[in-house]
Symmetry: none
Subunit: 199 residues, 4 copies
Amino acid sequence: MTGTKAARTRLRILDAAASEFAAQGYAGTSLRRIAEESGLQLGSLYFHFTSKDALLSEVVREAVAFAEERVSSALDDLPAAASARTRFSAAVRAHLRALHESSDRGAAVVRIIDLSPELTAVGAHQHVRDYARFWTGLVIEAQAAGGIPGQLDPVITRDLVVGAMHATVGRRQLPPDQVARLAETVIGLVLRQPLTNWP
Amino acid sequence: MTGTKAARTRLRILDAAASEFAAQGYAGTSLRRIAEESGLQLGSLYFHFTSKDALLSEVVREAVAFAEERVSSALDDLPAAASARTRFSAAVRAHLRALHESSDRGAAVVRIIDLSPELTAVGAHQHVRDYARFWTGLVIEAQAAGGIPGQLDPVITRDLVVGAMHATVGRRQLPPDQVARLAETVIGLVLRQPLTNWP
Amino acid sequence: MTGTKAARTRLRILDAAASEFAAQGYAGTSLRRIAEESGLQLGSLYFHFTSKDALLSEVVREAVAFAEERVSSALDDLPAAASARTRFSAAVRAHLRALHESSDRGAAVVRIIDLSPELTAVGAHQHVRDYARFWTGLVIEAQAAGGIPGQLDPVITRDLVVGAMHATVGRRQLPPDQVARLAETVIGLVLRQPLTNWP
Amino acid sequence: MTGTKAARTRLRILDAAASEFAAQGYAGTSLRRIAEESGLQLGSLYFHFTSKDALLSEVVREAVAFAEERVSSALDDLPAAASARTRFSAAVRAHLRALHESSDRGAAVVRIIDLSPELTAVGAHQHVRDYARFWTGLVIEAQAAGGIPGQLDPVITRDLVVGAMHATVGRRQLPPDQVARLAETVIGLVLRQPLTNWP
DNA sequence: CATGAATGAGATTTCATTCAT
DNA sequence: GATGAATGAAATCTCATTCAT
């Protein structure tokens, strides 16, 4: 087993919380439901998290870290000489896969990040900002390589690209092949690259 | 005076509700706050709307109608011979202006549409779907004219483009010139057209 | 037409109120529903009645008067030489018919009289008390004639007999032949008279 | 101590609820008052009962069980050879004592059973029906023994007898000797037995 | 005669949170 | 580590009532 009993319970809570936050938003999520989903009594949550806000903060932190780690390792898997277009494409694919993958971990970020005044109050925006900066870099690389028009503002462009990807997350989970189609469409639209892996 | 007394009160409520829904989401919005913003007592809301759901439904209906009307009339203002690229660009500009302008009326749609299981329950998705179909048409036109790669799925593409625009709506309202920059960036990214009106 | 327009509206309100009070009790009855049933707007009720209590008071007064009138005239229709048993039997039949007859006028009394602390507050108990005293007389007559055991307390007995009759009023209305069966059973039980009009 | 802390609180709530339901009816009863009478905060009720309906259901169930148990054990205390008249009389005495005694536990049933559409919704009518069937048996026994006219319909008769007893329950509680007088009057009226225990 | 618009109090229910055990 | 019991505030909604028109 991984870690102590407390650590495993903690994970169950985070899973349940991510799922609820993703599906109902911050205000729409009740701790009672999270407790039920975790197989705990309501009061027991407070042994693991000090408040609803703290729980949200952790969920967001984990979810961003999850996406970041996926994208980073996808880039690391590329040959050192990979082109900026290849790197950008790989990042898009990894990010979309992370968003749509199991257990709502990814979805949670997206759906909540935009909508919650609570996030700022909770100080979780820092994680998000770091990750965003990372994407700005990818955009600038792609512009330098001619994959994205150079005269566009890189920050605005990054917001549009990331926003477009986030908009693909819905309440139902998509099967992997549809996620792949999404990724190729993003790439085709943004980089104007001929599509790969396309049926 | 515009309309009856009730009609004016109704408008005040809808304004307040749009603003609250946009800022706090459905679950996070309290009718008490809407009442306060409208200068009414809580109970008085129920003279004008039968429930919170009904209020949401009306807000969404009005907001979508507002955006639709803006975009339609922007297209109608174009010369009959306008190219598909011109039409697409005009639509993007009008849509973004509608979203960022006019006391959250537009913003409400965006921020809520994605997050609310309530919308479906409330039957407001129909308005949204109609408007979405309208954008699919614009994408197909642009593809036929070579402004958007023809091999991309038009529905997915439409979701990405509209999603990118919606992601630009934040909690604070943007000044008109920033909205214009957003629009030109979207156009530059999607149509790869040389930017116009750019400082 | 009977009376002025106001008088006719007043009747519609009383009918609706009797029906609602009978079915839902005092607290469970809402003026809005009464207004709807009467084809009026809520506020318009107050032109005819000064409060919910006043409306209740009127309904009870009318309902008791209705039953009283029915029973009195049934007794008046008897030959002057009619026996006490005959008179008692006729009263039972008339009372039960009044209770189960159309438009809830009768039912209203029964179902509300017992349950409402409001009745006392509203001063409507006087009508009820008068009618009750009338029944005490009938019981005493029947005792004198040997139809009811003489050693029983007439007031308690009256409460039991009237209570038994009232218990027959339910939420659904009974067809006339079932009301007749009820009446003959009451008579058979209380007076031990051979049943009449029995199939 | 009797049972856990929760069990004791639950009892306090049920007592308060029975008293309120009996005095004010279902619609007229406010949970806030029940909470106050129980020495709890309003919200705390929901730890013990999921809704007002559930509370009503429990009160009725308990009250019927209480009356049933009293009557059953009164019959069990009789010699095996006791006559039907004796059994019927004992049942009447026990039922009336149960109704008028013990902090509204009994009264609650009576006053609510008739008036509440809610009872059906709440599924509590089953308990009531079972108890009613039990009384039908007593009536039939008494008819066989000649205590009640054999030609009367036993179900209607049972409704009348039980209805008469229920009508004796008022808002104020009666002292034991008055309850005894009531019982003897019912017996004298229904069975035409010479009265016993009579001052 | 009747409506339209609003009020303020109160209803039931749900919530995040606490703390003794 | 976790539960059981309770709290107090806030949520949505309904109610009887008022009064200008």
